[in-house]
Symmetry: C2
Subunit: 434 residues, 2 copies
């Protein structure tokens, strides 16, 4: 008789393991098994699940609001900004529903076969886009991220392990029940999306310590969270550190375009990673540019910090920019300004102080535009456009799991394709290697 | 006057650092500076450098042989297989030269702009393929890898930090002199390829500890080296662990094709990662398949280890395969054979014991072939072809820096594109975000 093949995982837990580690490992084992089913699921079933989750959110509004009210009551110590992010409202539940339906409408990233070609040996070789497997997402107390992350992982045929901030535990569990219901309605495994049901911080460490069950980690939140996750994770991390974005106004710039872009890049929204933090101006146009921009910024309430030359040219700037300014992501109505000799000095500044997120040049000179595009080593480089365009929706990715400032795997805005990999597929007809 | 922007790196070394760390960090700083120049170098200059290195190897054969003789004399304690890999011969120098000229003839992977499209906002968005930056390669005492690795990094416009096994130090320094001469002849920075000139093992730890200077590490060697590098590296690693490759012969297989593929996959070469280590046979055809294959393997001197059912069907197999066999990369004329009920049990076995390298199905059934391709989560999955095809040259990549069994960034044979990333480029005409 045939020996049977069992998929039961080998026991891995020593008696000294804390219960939270045991719990997280069990979730990991379930996620790995669910990932196998997700990888072979149909596009239709995954889209059906997204619609069914949207329906469940609609039907269970009362439970969601009750759970959220309990979270808010328990989190009375939080500041108002954090309480606002934690809060669910009918409008926010509606936005979550709409997000699910929009993701369902996107093209399936999985199954595409790229670059199929016949080789001299006679075999045909291509690359098939497949899910990564199990995606771990760690985020702060924002319940809408739970729905968003679940949607992107389901759409891309991955299994997900979600860990939101502990203040949102009840809200996230209520959302998780909707997600499970939707997966079940579509005939997909309920373990395809699991939301950690423990407030213990040790659960995060446990999650980061099991590369056998988690293929990639996506931290979404502030710098502290991302640095902790990056230092601790035993698996690859799609991470987004600072967005210290520059606009360089060249001395061959069209000054109308320069003014529009410099104002938009700084003032369209202040607290976002693709806002400009430092303006670099070529000395040849510095007087003219600053004469236009300084009053415009001051009229908008932007605090300006300048290098010595900037301050000499623009009487309105009294605050000196120091090295710490060039290296700071303000995320606020503050802008540092530097006058540079030319393109080379601008690129040197960006290399030294930039964060490889998004940088733009304003110029009418084609050669300089080409050099900037080639030589500036950032995840997005732009010519005559506002840095604010660095965004998954603006780029046409349809959805965004984050913006990667790493060079590996995914760079810049990460959409559904960032949650996939390409494996080689080979078709033969009995071919052997000579 | 303008404050000047200096690229001088901030001093980073405390007085307590050991000299080897100081030395490796200095190489890292130089590599980072050279990477900037490489990123803007022309295709022509990089190809010229490769040809000039080939010429230098030709002109300095005597120095290479002298240095290699000294390495061999000092390495008298090594076993003959390792001495053989360390040895340079006129034929091997010629092969190194030819390799350089072949890489020069490949298409430049850098600068291509993919998926350029106009968005509703009016901006045009594409992805430009650019070098990763600084590539660290750690390998054993095989001087030919020094040339090979240098060629791939120069071609892909990266800077390289190379660390070969300590027994090959003199040979590698002689090769490094040729590489520097070739870079100089092409007007490229000599620091674009630096070969660590110290036998100290601490140099490897120092290399792995500086993510600010090294963007990716490629370990090339045995499992011990790769595990050490993966555990220690603070930057991404392109790694290749075991190649436990399977061929599954389905009960709808063409048995002539099955026989040819099963023999080729095991016997074409034994010590390679894409050789079959386990043969899975559907019970419906097991008797017929084993009647053909067992004598063929035994005639080639292959030791066979079988599950109980295999042994019951094939009298020639006396050795029982245990779980450890299914999980072993033999790299030798040994094959484990298992009879399975069907495709599902075969895929279960591969999931449990495989290493996600390369797996093949032999079948005439289209639905089963599609399921195998979709559901087996390996870097290469094949239908009716020998696993031996999993190779950068066979796939048409032109060159191969390694085979990745990870899912992240690069998967399967890694060619020049694996040493690049894609950054977003945006073209506007004064566009701002609404």
């Amino acid at each position: 008789m045939s020996t049977s093949v069992s998929e039961t995982p080998t026991p891995v837990q020593g008696p000294e393991q804390a219960p939270v580690q045991t719990y997280v490992r069990e979730l990991g084992q379930r996620a790995r098994a669910a990932a196998v089913a997700m990888a072979r699921s149909s596009t239709a079933a995954r889209n059906q699940a997204l619609h069914a989750i949207a329906l469940a959110l609609d039907q269970r509004r009362a439970e969601l609001m009750t759970a959220n009210a309990a979270d808010l009551a328990a989190a009375s110590g939080l500041d108002e900004a954090m309480r606002d992010r934690l809060r669910l409202t009918p409008a926010r539940i509606e936005a979550m529903r709409e997000g699910l339906i929009e993701v369902a409408a996107l093209a399936d990233p999985v199954g595409e076969i790229l670059h199929l070609r016949r080789r001299p040996s006679g075999i045909e070789v291509g690359q098939m886009r497949v899910p990564l497997g199990v995606v771990g997402i760690i985020y702060e107390s924002r319940p809408n991220v739970t729905v968003d992350a679940a949607a992107l992982c389901i759409k891309s045929a991955n299994a997900a392990l979600l860990r939101g901030g502990s203040e949102s535990l009840r809200s996230n569990q209520a959302i998780a029940a909707c997600v499970r219901a939707g997966l079940e309605a579509a005939g997909l495994p309920q373990d395809a999306v699991q939301v950690l049901a423990t407030p213990e911080r040790a659960a995060v460490s446990a999650l980061l310590a099991m590369p056998e069950y988690v293929d990639v980690i996506v931290p979404r939140g502030g710098r502290g969270l991302i640095e902790r996750v990056s230092a601790e994770a035993k698996m690859p991390v799609i991470k987004h550190l600072d967005g210290i974005c520059h606009v360089y106004i060249d001395d061959r710039a069209d000054l109308d375009k320069a003014e529009a872009i410099a104002i938009n890049a700084k003032c369209h929204r202040y607290g976002v990673c693709n806002a400009m933090e430092t303006l670099l101006v070529a000395e040849g146009v510095a007087a003219a540019v600053l004469a236009r921009l300084v009053p415009a910024y001051l009229a908008r309430g932007v605090e300006l910090r300048g290098c010595a030359r900037t301050r000499a040219l623009a009487a309105g700037i009294t605050c000196a920019a120091i090295d710490a300014d060039w290296a700071t992501e303000y995320l606020a109505p503050i802008l540092s300004i530097r006058v540079v000799a030319d393109l080379d000095e601008a690129m040197l500044h960006i290399r030294r102080f930039g964060s490889a997120h998004t940088d733009a040049i304003v110029t009418e000179d084609l050669t300089r535009a080409r050099r900037f595009l080639t030589e500036v080593d950032s995840s997005s480089v732009m010519v005559n456009a506002s840095t604010r365009f660095a965004d998954g929706f603006e780029y046409g990715l349809g959805a965004e799991i984050g913006i990667s400032t790493d060079k590996f795997h995914a760079r810049g805005p990460v959409g559904l394709e960032g949650l996939t990999s390409c494996k080689y597929v080979v078709f033969g007809d009995g071919h052997v290697r000579q």
